[in-house]
């Protein structure tokens, strides 16, 4: 028999509508402008671990038979708005990521992304807390907010300094925890070891009954965050976890066009080395940064995951109308 019913019940669909309404009220009251940007773009993210969907435009105009990429987040377009003088902006939109499916992943998902001009990333963490508490505070028990630096996190779990550790030390941690090491993992690079330890040993315990922010990541995991030239350098990035689920990822945004260009190029080299197709660098974003983007902090929040947490469900299927297998 063909399954055609939605996998989410109507109680959860109404909750989604309610969350959307409250989110819009939250930002309206703070004078943050709601915007829309395209989901299709001629440029794409260059993150070496992000698989991008693409399609071909067939017609008329100068883009005839051109490859277009589905956004993995609205970040690049929103930054162009910021550079053009939009001021604080937010949007709720669809993001697409190929190769990501599971209990907490659907290749097409709803992302809430916002940028605060003049905020630093610690102020933005506080605003994330306020929004999350307004949406889910009366639905799940949350005892408070915890802020832990990436260094504190690894220090208290493994007694190591993640910014100065060696692959040998990381390997012995993984041994102690009896972790299975993927045969093809690049064991000479500390980052995969850090990811392995984080996802396997730490994440499931993060934010149990509270909001846990992890901030100040290794510079090698900066993505589009600004790097603070400490010794060792630190990327001004944060993530929010509730009940073991990663919910949001935020940055003190990198405004330097030259550094952004170098990072994109380095990412594409990395993509090639891991066998991923290189993606076109977003020249328009770089031009916007060059003309000057105001200092700002930005964050993306997994809206479906927040709903999942609010309902106590253990899979996104309960809050999506038609997840991948039924779409």
């Amino acid at each position: 028999m063909i399954t055609w019913h939605p996998t989410a019940d109507f109680v959860n669909l109404k909750l989604r509508a309610d969350f959307l309404k409250k989110t819009r009220e939250f930002f309206a009251s703070r004078r943050v402008l709601e915007v829309e940007t395209p989901t299709l773009s001629a440029a794409a993210v260059n993150d070496p671990y992000m698989k991008v969907f693409s399609t071909i435009y067939s017609g008329p105009g100068k883009h005839y038979s051109k490859v277009l990429y589905l956004q993995t987040s609205p970040e690049f377009h929103m930054k162009r708005l910021l550079a053009a003088g939009s001021g604080c902006i937010y949007q709720v939109t669809r993001a697409f990521r190929d190769g990501e499916a599971g209990r907490y992943h659907n290749p097409e998902f709803t992302i809430l992304e916002w940028y605060r001009v003049g905020f630093d990333y610690h102020q933005l963490m506080d605003e994330v807390t306020e929004l999350v508490m307004q949406l889910v505070g009366d639905r799940i028990e949350l005892s408070g907010v915890e802020h832990l630096s990436y260094a504190e996190l690894f220090n208290c779990h493994f007694n190591i300094n993640p910014h100065r550790t060696s692959v040998a030390e990381l390997a012995s941690c993984a041994m102690e925890w009896n972790l299975s090491i993927p045969e093809t993992m690049d064991t000479n690079d500390p980052d995969p070891w850090l990811s392995l330890l984080l996802t396997h040993c730490i994440e499931p315990q993060l934010g149990l009954g509270k909001l846990t922010f992890i901030y100040d990541y290794p510079a090698s995991q900066a993505a589009l965050a600004r790097i603070r030239p400490d010794n060792p350098p630190i990327s001004e990035r944060f993530e929010l976890y509730i009940n073991g689920i990663e919910l949001a990822n935020g940055f003190q945004e990198l405004c330097d066009a030259n550094e952004q260009r170098l990072r994109f190029d380095a990412e594409n080299i990395k993509r090639q080395s891991v066998g991923m197709p290189i993606t076109p660098v977003d020249g328009r974003l770089l031009a916007a940064l060059e003309s000057g983007m105001p200092e700002c902090a930005g964050v993306a929040l997994g809206f479906d995951r927040l709903l999942m947490l609010a309902t106590g469900a253990d899979s996104l299927v309960s809050v999506l109308t038609f997840p991948l297998d039924y779409a």
């Binding site: 993150d47 671990y49 190769g99 990501e100 499916a101 599971g102 209990r103 907490y104 992943h105 972790l179 299975s180 090491i181 993927p182 045969e183 093809t184 993992m185 980052d191 995969p192 850090l194 990811s195 392995l196 984080l198 996802t199 396997h200 994440e203 990541y217 995991q221 993505a223 990035r237 993530e239 990663e246 990822n249």
Partner: protein
């Protein structure tokens, strides 16, 4: 030889791991906010029955295991091997003591069993869910007790001992659930 990528991993898929055939029980996709994603896979080693946890990098591959389940008829045992027959082709296959394992105590001649073959060789044997066997030894028990409470041990024709109600006697035929080892009912012959 079939190669499977982690994207194709799902419950029931049989792959080779460290030279042993394994069945995937669970496959969880995990990804940190930025960086390498992994697949945490729970598997059952089909040779040893042991459950193993293994992490793959997303996109890694594994060789498929040539493992199939077939229904075969149990013929006899010579003590070293248990012989089964494919009822369509009349081909005979021998399973060793490791493959037969605990199923041995439930095997009665002519029983149809599910046999898991790896590269054509029996890897494990599951007895039928229910078997019908004759009681060869049990205490006389108490006459008049029909409630079935308490029960008593009874040895069946293959040598296995199960608990039966007090009213069941030597020579009677009973039905037993092999998954739980529990008495189900008497069977009229």
């Amino acid at each position: 030889m079939t190669i499977y990528s982690t994207s194709e991993f799902k419950g029931g898929l049989k792959i080779m791991l460290d030279g042993d055939p394994c069945a995937i029980i669970e496959n969880e996709f995990v990804k940190p906010g930025k960086g390498q994603s992994f697949n945490r896979v729970k598997l059952r080693n089909l040779k040893t029955g042991k459950i193993v946890d293994r992490t793959f990098r997303s996109g890694d591959t594994a060789e498929g295991a040539d493992v199939i389940d077939v229904e075969l008829q149990y013929l006899y045992s010579d003590g070293e091997y248990w012989y089964f027959m494919d009822q369509q082709t009349y081909e005979q296959l021998a399973a060793d003591v490791v493959a037969v394992g605990d199923a041995a105590k439930w095997l009665k001649e002519e029983a149809i069993c599910q046999v898991t073959l790896w590269n054509g060789v029996p890897l494990s044997v599951s007895p039928p869910n229910f078997v019908i066997m004759t009681i060869v030894e049990t205490d006389p028990g108490l006459r008049g007790d029909t409630s079935g409470s308490g029960g008593k041990p009874a040895m069946l024709e293959t040598g296995i001992v199960v608990r039966v109600p007090l009213f069941v006697q030597i020579g009677e035929v009973i039905k037993v659930d092999t998954r739980t080892g529990q008495y189900v009912s008497r069977v009229k012959e």
